[in-house]
């Protein structure tokens, strides 16, 4: 028979205390599968910090819109103010000093016109193409330039690279985790040792497949069904490269070697997309108008590739940078400082790698070790020499 004291204690436990215990136990129960998943994910091979990996894990496990909301909030709070003192010099890019830039090239090969500076007076070397590699000859495969991209924000500097498609081939290189398994012929997730003698540049890919809701063709086979209307970097089996809005259905056309899709086009027919300022159009990512590191790739009217990246960009301002550099079709690639990289190699054998902009967070050796994300590598075509 229970004692009076124990009976009293039995009745005296307040409801809120039991509710608290229930929620505590529920939280523990919820965290068990999450902890197993998290520990497993952190145990895999990575080349990014724990914080970035944790955010990526959250994104991959249903928290994509949550992370995007937090990012939007954070970047909006830390948005730069207009105006401020102007710059006195630009970061040095390439190997040629100002005045000795690519203009000295001879022959009948196409030469891109220098980028006309937006802000006057122009700074030394602003908008002038420079060779990315030493001893690149009279037809350098990669040219680099920087210019101030927005008169309202005179401290913002955009970095742009021009890649001669007649001398180079573009390769899509899968990363360690992106695209996610299964993927046949994933490769080493870095510039392969055998190809380092020909690599002239590498740059970041697009959004992960999970967040872009777009397609991927790799080595001629569909990894993720292609989506009509989405902007696509495509390489054909004959080596031609293009940036196009996709209208060929979900399958892989016989002449396509790889095709990587990412969001709707930002430039079509030399004009900015009229929908650039509409949030939903660019998917469930950081809002279009939020100023973050952004990157994009396009083609000029001669079919050469143009890559651009800069901090504090909106989708629209990024598109304007590419348009100013001569892009007639373009798409946005990956965003945020953790993922934006353009690296040129100054010497054969991936020697002396150099970031397009000194502010780029990831080291220039990023793609010489296995990387988390997919990326693009630019190789000299067979028969082409440094």
């Amino acid at each position: 028979m229970p004692s009076v004291r124990s009976e009293r204690r039995h009745q005296s436990i307040p409801f809120w205390r039991r509710a608290r215990r229930i929620f505590l136990l529920a939280a523990i129960a919820c965290l068990v599968p999450a902890t197993i998943s998290y520990v497993r994910a952190m145990g895999e091979k990575h080349n990014v910090g724990l914080g970035v990996r944790s955010v990526e894990w959250l994104r991959q496990n249903g928290g994509n819109s949550l992370v995007s909301e937090i990012e939007n909030w954070y970047y909006t709070l830390n948005a730069p103010e207009k105006g401020g003192p102007g710059l006195r010099s630009l970061p040095q890019v390439g190997v040629a000093s100002a005045g000795e830039e690519a203009r000295g090239r001879t022959g009948e090969a196409y030469q891109p016109p220098d980028v006309k500076p937006l802000i006057q007076p122009a700074l030394p070397g602003e908008g002038l193409w420079k060779k990315a590699a030493a001893k690149a000859g009279t037809r350098p495969p990669v040219l680099l330039t920087t210019f101030r991209s927005d008169p309202e924000y005179p401290q913002f500097v955009a970095g742009v690279a021009w890649i001669d498609s007649s001398r180079t081939r573009l390769a899509y290189v899968p990363g360690l985790a992106e695209p996610p398994p299964p993927l046949a012929h994933r490769g080493p997730a870095e510039v392969p040792e055998a190809k380092r003698g020909r690599v002239v540049a590498t740059f970041n890919g697009g959004f992960p497949l999970e967040t872009s809701n777009a397609g991927l063709i790799y080595r001629g086979k569909v990894r993720e069904a292609m989506v009509d209307g989405v902007a696509t970097v495509v390489e054909y089996r004959d080596g031609r490269v293009d940036v196009i809005p996709w209208h060929q259905g979900p399958g892989a056309p016989a002449n396509v070697w790889f095709a990587k899709q990412n969001l709707p086009p930002i430039i079509e027919g030399g004009r900015l997309s009229p929908k650039l300022s509409d949030g939903p159009e660019w998917g469930e990512t950081v809002n279009n108008a939020v100023r973050v590191w952004r990157s994009g790739v396009g083609v000029d009217s001669h079919g050469n590739l143009l890559y651009a990246a800069a901090d504090f960009q909106t989708v629209e301002s990024l598109a304007k940078i590419l348009q100013r550099a001569g892009a007639v079709r373009a798409l946005e690639l990956d965003i945020n400082e953790d993922w934006t990289s353009f690296i040129s190699y100054r010497h054969p054998g991936a020697g002396e790698p150099s970031n397009l902009l000194p502010e780029m967070l990831r080291p220039p050796e990023r793609y010489l070790t296995p990387d988390e994300r997919d990326f693009f590598a630019v190789y000299l075509r067979p028969g082409e020499r440094w």
Partner: protein, 81 residues
Amino acid sequence: MRLPREISAGAASRRRLLADMSIAIAIAVLASLLAAGVGVVAFLALPTLLVLLSWITIEAVVRGVRRRSARSAQAARVAER
């Protein structure tokens, strides 16, 4: 089968704990089914766990301090007599 009505305080406590655990597991299963993924569940569960643990810890500390001060006051009263 009917559970015995007359039970000890310990047995009643264990029975309550079992009931609470069952409810907690049901809540966890429901949350996992409704949420978009384990990441979101963890994002909500972790702060909940930290807040509740902090609450319980603070409560225990306050209770301990009160008990000690009550004991020392009682000891002082006994000493005065």
